[in-house]
């Protein structure tokens, strides 16, 4: 239930931002979920809703918008680009679960499919990001 920890960070971060912007209520939160983190959307959504109930009145009528961001991986050695979904089947269940917890361990468990280098970048689709917050002052 790692999704709960990430949901909690989203809620706390949104409340922090609302305080900074002097928002009395938060109406919409858009969360971008990177493909690499392999979040269970239902659990994540459930966790967000559960946390709203214990987070005070500011979030009472909030709507969450969850958007998945496909990954882009770029090899630093040969310049090849590919997606995590292209290589996921080659990973063991344990490797895949480790990437779910710490996306950077992809560099440990995967290689560039073209040149075999471990030196590549996650240019898109890493983890959970709070994209936008809307509210009323």
């Amino acid at each position: 239930m790692h999704e709960w920890a990430l949901a909690e960070s989203v809620i706390l971060s949104a409340l922090e931002a609302a305080k900074k912007e002097h928002l009395k209520t938060i109406t919409d939160i858009t969360v971008q979920i990177g493909e690499l983190q392999q979040i269970e959307r239902d659990i994540f959504q459930f966790a967000l809703k559960e946390m709203v109930t214990s987070s005070g009145s500011k979030l009472k009528n909030v709507t969450f918008h969850l958007k998945t961001e496909k990954s882009t991986l770029t090899c630093t050695s040969c310049g090849h680009t590919w997606k995590f979904s292209d290589m996921k089947k080659k990973l063991s269940e344990q490797e895949s679960e480790s990437i779910h917890f710490i996306p950077e361990v992809l560099f440990v468990h995967a290689r560039c499919p073209k040149c075999g280098s471990p030196d590549f970048e996650i240019t898109k689709g890493r983890g959970v990001t709070l994209s936008t917050i809307k509210g009323k002052r």
């Binding site: 790692h2 920890a5 960070s9 709070l130």
Partner: protein, 241 residues
């Protein structure tokens, strides 16, 4: 917006003291001091956590003999209990394979570990640091503002050259320094003590080189009985640990 930073304070709020075991130089015995410190505090019935932040070359798990233990998923990750210590390391996710990370990846790993690890109430969280002044040291200073530093060196002038730089930056940033431990000493010289005192930092004492130590690696019960550990305990007594 990065949401993980908001939750770190909450994750660490039930931890009474954070002690970072650091050095400017590699190979001086930081992991052994960190593991030894954690074991010592655990034997005194304190609630202790140990976080290995050496993501390129984690070694606390080897010292503690961690083989089958794994974190439990419960609204984050609950570290496994190893010899009375709540233990967290990147090794649980790398399966001990080579780990080629660039600088920004290291910061992301540290952030993720701090955001998802559910330590619960602890008397002490001990952090085993990699050498130097890179991302790991800067991130500990950034996210664990109240951390105290226990610095390890050997008797070598080469080691002390790098350790001095770490001490100077800790002093500049007004970070609490518990003191400097001189590890693996082979003769009775006062060079390190003198250098440390020049910086007005407490010099805590020597741990003589112990050739029985290697056989105790991976066996915490044996480790606690080694001469090195006994010397470490007397050094720690000077700072009431």
């Amino acid at each position: 917006m990065e949401p993980r930073t908001s939750v770190i304070e909450k994750r660490l709020k039930s931890i009474k003291r954070i002690i970072t075991v650091a050095s400017g130089k590699g190979g001086v015995g930081k992991s052994l001091v960190a593991s030894g410190l954690a074991l010592h505090l655990a034997t005194k019935s304190h609630k202790v956590g140990l976080l290995d932040l050496d993501v390129y070359g984690p070694s606390s798990h080897i010292i503690l003999g961690v083989t089958t233990e794994y974190p439990v998923e419960e609204k984050g990750l609950i570290p496994p209990n190893v010899q009375g210590i709540s233990f967290m390391s990147i090794v649980f996710f790398t399966q001990d394979k080579p780990s080629p990370f660039r600088g920004n990846d290291i910061s992301n790993i540290i952030l993720e570990l701090l955001a998802i690890t559910q330590w619960g109430p602890l008397d002490y969280l001990i952090i085993d640091m990699p050498p130097g002044l890179g991302e790991e040291t800067l991130d500990v200073m950034k996210y664990m503002k109240h951390s105290e530093f226990l610095v390890v060196t050997t008797s070598s002038k080469v080691a002390m050259g790098s350790v001095s730089k770490l001490l100077k930056i800790l002093i500049e940033l007004k970070k609490p320094i518990l003191g400097v431990v001189e590890n693996m000493t082979m003769k009775n010289t006062s060079y390190i003590e003198h250098e440390v005192q020049k910086l007005k930092v407490p010099y805590l004492g020597k741990i003589p080189f112990d050739n029985t130590l290697e056989d105790a690696i991976g066996h915490p019960d044996l480790l606690l009985k080694t001469p090195a550990m006994k010397h470490l305990v007397s050094v720690l007594k000077k700072i009431n640990l």
